[in-house]
């Protein structure tokens, strides 16, 4: 079977059409409840905890997560699940009990707006601008992913038609119903996603004889190399296998993937014996694999260069071994991208908390809660639901190692598993689940991007020019105009941004540079009343600069992609800078920070008495 195509029966097509029409009708239904900017941006503060929790999960998990996380589990193992376990639940608890109550009480629409109140307009503008640009770029990218990577690659549909269909459906219901429509559609989409995802998990495990059997079969796999050769003529796989044989390795499988066009490199999957790791574990295993990997890669590359005659034509993108595929915590010096030190400190303490507390799409749902209890409960419920994501995504990715062990592109793991494992009907449902994951991310990002542009950029400019912010009616009109403008512009730019990987990489890198410093000033701004506006500004600007230095200085950390370590150390650096500069500058007046710092709410006896009265 062609690994790229997911054959759909008539019943599957019917399910997809019913889903799209249903989502459209449900979303537009909520339009009648939108009367002002508060209704549009934060759902009139009427959302219950269950809707908030479900919406957070489905906004966070896009179709690309389904595909990419499963692919990462296929290549790197279960350690990728850290992003939904240690990289989610503790962060959501901290967000629920530290950050959300403050955002909720201060009545702000966005995180940059909160930073603007606590620090100054410069901090708000810097933070707002980077998020606004990031969200808009992501919007275009997500639309293109839906059109090209999902519908075109998997089903063969025209990507442009899919992009504009998505623009129409999500644009109309987000324009009409604002956050209420987005959240309620998300609730339906989460249920579909869980039914589809759990079906894939259970059928995969059933077919392979259970969890124990999957572990045993994965552990028996030979090491694998995926090689790309950019040659004009087609090279037989026996020639590539011959290079391995000449070096003393026994090739157990050699496969060549057909080139789609003359510009595509020819890709090979080579499995071989020769790596003896029997009885080794932990650092000894890592050392043995590291040595073998370096020597083998070098020798094989040299052999292949000799074969094709040009070193620029040969690349070895992945080298996969399966010894530590079921270790969730990997050694500090592992060659895989997720060492335990980076996972606990960089992900668990910095990136996850920064993401859950500073990402507008996540926090905006809690700002629309009907009570503070619902805001906190929504975060906790979301964390609980998110714990199931690796079961639906990473475990099928691991099962795919047994079912389709020789995929060249690991992002094909989930689509291929769906086409092989699921019967008609369920296959359509699973496809709808992928589509739901994608659409919920698009509608949430659209609504949040609109909020930031309206509140933090246009609102700031208007206040600067006329001396007053946008009123409720103006906010609603501007928000709806931005919604239409953004979704149309995102549709037009989707093919351009989607095809330019460098744009996506640049935006992702820029955002990752902000996470550690943003968390530092957010945390200090709430926890320490002595933090000053100049301390916050210095912490943000110098922290980002330090991130830049760490990111571009080679060999500081053991991992090839040290983003986890960069996040941790930039956070520490920003904390220090913010504290030092704050101590050197005059303290903020009491009236400016009232209600915005932890001590004023939790430790202040007068405020505590008031809180106790409210709950008694």
């Amino acid at each position: 079977m062609d690994e790229a195509m997911m054959g759909l029966a008539n019943i599957d097509i019917a399910i997809i059409i019913i889903y799209m029409v249903g989502v459209f009708v449900l979303g537009t239904f909520f339009g009648k409840y939108v009367k002002d900017a508060g209704d549009f941006f934060i759902a009139g503060k009427a959302l219950p905890f269950w809707a908030i929790g479900m919406s957070i999960v489905v906004s966070d998990i896009g179709a690309m997560d389904f595909v990419a996380v499963a692919g990462s589990a296929y290549t790197h193992g279960i350690s990728v699940a850290n992003f939904d376990w240690i990289g989610s639940m503790p962060a959501m608890v901290f967000a629920a009990f530290i950050f959300v109550p403050y955002f909720w009480r201060s009545g702000v629409f966005t995180i940059p707006e909160f930073l603007g109140r606590r620090y100054n307009a410069a901090v708000q503008m810097i933070h707002g601008t980077i998020w606004a640009v990031f969200m808009f770029t992501m919007l275009s990218l997500m639309l293109w992913v839906a059109g090209d990577s999902l519908m075109h690659t998997v089903l063969g549909w025209n990507p442009y038609v899919v992009v504009w269909l998505m623009v129409f459906i999500t644009g109309v219901f987000t324009f009409s119903g604002g956050l209420s429509a987005v959240v309620m559609v998300d609730v339906v989409q989460l249920i579909i996603m869980f039914v589809g995802g759990l079906a894939l998990l259970f059928l995969s495990m059933w077919d392979l004889g259970g969890w124990q059997s999957v572990q045993e079969q994965v552990a028996r796999q030979d090491p694998k190399m995926v090689i790309a050769i950019q040659a004009e003529e087609t090279i037989p796989e026996t020639a590539v296998a011959g290079v391995f044989e000449e070096l003393g390795y026994t090739v157990t499988h050699a496969e060549s993937v057909k080139k789609l066009s003359a510009r595509d490199p020819q890709r090979f999957v080579i499995r071989f014996e020769g790596l003896d790791t029997h009885g080794l574990e932990g650092n000894d295993l890592i050392e043995q694999i590291g040595t073998f990997r370096a020597e083998a890669s070098e020798a094989i590359t040299a052999g292949l260069v000799q074969l094709v005659g040009d070193e620029k034509k040969v690349s070895i993108p992945t080298f996969v071994t399966y010894e530590s595929h079921f270790d969730i915590l990997l050694p500090h010096n592992t060659y895989k991208p997720f060492p335990w030190t980076g996972i606990v400190f960089g992900l668990g303490i910095v990136l996850a908390i920064a993401y859950m507390s500073g990402n507008q799409t996540i926090v905006q749902r809690t700002l629309g809660a009907r009570s503070e209890w619902d805001a906190k409960g929504g975060m906790l419920f979301g964390g609980f639901l998110k714990s199931f994501i690796p079961l639906m995504v990473a475990l099928p990715g691991l099962a795919a190692i047994v079912v389709v062990p020789n995929l060249v592109d690991d992002s094909r793991a989930v689509p291929t598993m769906i086409s092989i494992m699921l019967p008609p009907g369920l296959r359509g449902l699973m496809f709808v689940a992928l589509f739901a994951a994608l659409m919920s991310s698009v509608d949430s990002t659209l609504n949040s991007a609109t909020t930031i542009w309206t509140t933090d950029l246009l609102g700031r400019v208007k206040r600067y020019i006329s001396g007053s912010p946008l009123d409720e009616r103006q906010g609603l009109i501007v928000g709806r105009i931005f919604t239409v403008a953004f979704i149309l512009l995102a549709g037009v730019l989707a093919p351009v941004i989607g095809r330019q990987e460098s744009i996506y990489v640049f935006i992702q890198t820029a955002l990752s540079l902000f996470q550690g410093p943003t968390l530092a000033i957010l945390l200090l701004g709430i926890m320490w009343r002595r933090t000053t506006q100049w301390g916050g500004l210095a912490g943000l600007v110098l922290g980002v600069a330090f991130c830049f230095v760490l990111n571009y200085t080679e060999g500081l950390f053991p991992s090839d992609d040290p983003f986890l370590f960069v996040a941790w150390w930039s956070f520490v650096f920003s904390l220090v800078v913010t504290v030092v500069v704050s101590l050197l500058t005059p303290p903020e007046p009491e009236e400016k920070i009232r209600g915005l710092v932890w001590g004023a709410v939790v430790q202040d006896a007068v405020v505590q008495d008031a809180l106790n009265e409210r709950i008694s």
């Binding site: 109550p101 915590l329 606990v344």
Partner: protein, 87 residues
Amino acid sequence: MAEFMTSLLGKPLYAFFNPINELLTPLYMPWARIVAVGFFILTMVWVGAILNRAYVHLERPNNRWYSDLRIWTVVSMLPHVFVYLYF
């Protein structure tokens, strides 16, 4: 860019980070597991025993056990402890 940055600031940064890498490389099991599980347990203890009760329960809809957010926290986090002990 990488070459310029490495030549400009590499020396002091290596002097700071290399000893840390040397310290962390031999630290693996059981310390990795203890730290990861400890992270979950400390978070549960913080919410369950340290945070002000009135603050946690603010605007709680009723006084039944199932609306206690401290119980929600423990129920949500405890499975993670078992996951990190298992893998």
